[in-house]
């Protein structure tokens, strides 16, 4: 005998679409459900006592009533005018619900996250399934979410809206930035993200040690680290206030100075050892970075 109660129900979009009518649906990536338009009850979307494995992100705003639910083994009670933000891949079960509930549900999938402007996704990456965010809303927060939900639904459902995709993407960003600020997700889990960047920064320095005498292109180092040159520059900027190309240039000049000072190499030799196409190119590179020409450096420093 199989025991269905132990099984998770996969909360796919197809399932959600088959059990309740949505208020608005944008290409199956952003779907809105609420109790006002189609008299949908929250338990017709997620049956009482059944456990669901979420595939998408959920923002649930409880306008009226009470809900007791279990999210990732944590018991949460929501009352009138409160909101909960549940990351994708969470496990969720509604345990008790008061007679009358009214809600707004904003569901967005992984694709919606990649549609974001700028590097917003970096903040979303900090939302992991172990975290569940919920809080009682004040009037201002409640009205903000309610108005935006309505405006988004209206926008999605407006016919002949030529640039609906831009509208939806922008609205999705607005809501996510609002959620991030509402729950202070940003400050909470920053430590984790920094250590990942720090790791990349250390790897970059190691690579510099290894390749500085051959490679001076940011592109090369970024490729070795499997990141974009821009991101590499961001990382070096965060940790040293200099961008990657400045880092490389300064590192190479330090090497050149070492060669001249400690090994008493001639400028021509240094230029060859550091893989410069010509002595004059090396001279200009050195002067641009160090502020003086290699010749002058030798004269002043090595006397």
């Amino acid at each position: 005998m199989t025991r269905n109660t132990n099984r998770y129900i996969e909360d796919t979009i197809d399932r959600a679409k088959s059990v309740a009518k949505s208020t608005a649906n944008f290409e199956d990536t952003i779907i809105l459900y609420d109790s006002q338009t189609h008299r949908t009850d929250i338990t017709s979307l997620y049956n009482l006592g059944k456990t669901y494995h979420l595939q998408d992100y959920l923002l649930l705003i409880l306008m009226h009533g009470n809900l007791k639910m279990q999210v990732n083994n944590k018991e949460i009670t929501l009352s009138t005018r409160s909101c909960i933000y549940i990351p994708a891949f969470s496990v969720m079960r509604i345990m008790i619900k008061s007679m009358e509930t009214q809600f707004l549900l904003y569901r967005f999938g992984k694709i919606a996250r990649t549609m974001s402007v700028n590097d917003l996704y970096m903040y979303d990456d900090r939302v992991s399934a172990e975290n569940v965010y919920y809080k009682k809303l004040n009037d201002q927060e409640y009205n903000y979410l309610k108005t935006h939900y309505d405006e988004l639904a209206e926008g999605i459902n407006t016919r002949e809206f030529k640039h609906r995709d831009i509208f939806v993407r922008s609205y999705n960003n607005i809501l996510r930035i609002f959620i991030t600020n509402l729950f202070e997700i940003d400050s909470e889990i920053k430590g984790d993200a920094i250590s990942r960047q720090e790791n990349l920064f250390r790897q970059f320095i190691e690579l510099l040690n290894q390749y500085a005498s051959k490679e001076r292109e940011v592109q090369f180092y970024a490729k070795q680290l499997d990141i974009t040159p821009k991101y590499l520059s961001t990382i070096t900027n965060t940790y040293s206030g200099k961008n990657a190309s400045t880092w490389i240039a300064e590192y190479v000049v330090t090497l050149a100075k070492q060669l001249m000072k400690e090994k008493h190499c001639k400028i021509q030799e240094v230029s060859v050892m550091l893989n410069f196409p010509s002595q004059s190119f090396f001279g200009r590179f050195f002067k641009r970075t160090a502020g003086i020409s290699p010749k002058r450096y030798m004269l002043t420093e090595l006397k």
């Binding site: 402007v117 030529k162 640039h163 509208f167 922008s170 202070e184 940003d186 400050s187 592109q219």
Partner: protein, 290 residues
Amino acid sequence: MLDTYGDTYGYEDKFYCTDNIRHAAEARIQKSDVTYNENYRAVIIVQQGSMNVRVNNTLLKLKTNDYLAILPYTNIEILWSRCKLISLKVSSYIMHDLYEQLGIDVGIREGFFTYKHYHLTPRQAAILTHDYEHIKQEILTDYKSMKEYMITARLGVYIAHQFSILSKLEPVSHDDNSEIGNIFNKFLTLLDQHYKQERSVQYYANELNIQPKTLSTATVRYTGKTASRVIDEYVVMRIKIVLYNNRHNIKEVSDMFNFASQSFFGRYFKRIVGCSPRKYVSTTSKKLSK
């Protein structure tokens, strides 16, 4: 330009909202106030009343619910105004970046030295005004983080509405059909196609089958600048957009615009902008927000 005549709310030299403009009927605006800053795109929507402006030597009468987009390097002079208006001014680099991220093809002649004039319906004007109010609100709100993202996202909503509305409308035609007006328009179209390869007045004059001097006469008439200055400023604006995005190093940008050498590129840029490309990148390019 309008900043000093109304209530202005700005964020980091990137976004400005201006409204509640005082009657500028008597005040003929100083010559130095005439040009919109080269680095900005601006939109004016007249909510009520009317105003007369001169844009690139063309006289425009704006009335209630009129929409005027002013692109970088466009000369605008307010001659008379008795109206309520809103004006949104955004750094052109932010705008280009946003267009790119949103996958909008800005298209030919959307670059600079031009303007777009439309009559909107009251409903259309109201939608854009609503979005404007949201942008202004975000500028005024204290955020713990990501304020710029929020303003940008709001701008995205505005852009979605604006493009959807304008795509259904025909711009009000102010075509200057004089010979010299035609030369100017053809020149801008050519410039937009060839700016990456050609920077000499001679080339463009040859293509148009006219004397370089005639070409300069046309540009001076519409922009107050010589043809070579117009070419230089346009090229530099394009370079700045690429540099702002910070996706290419200076060598790559130099090659992209067909400069003989990086050093020549550096000198060219410095002559027009006043600082080296490297310095420009370090001070203005896009950085990851904290």
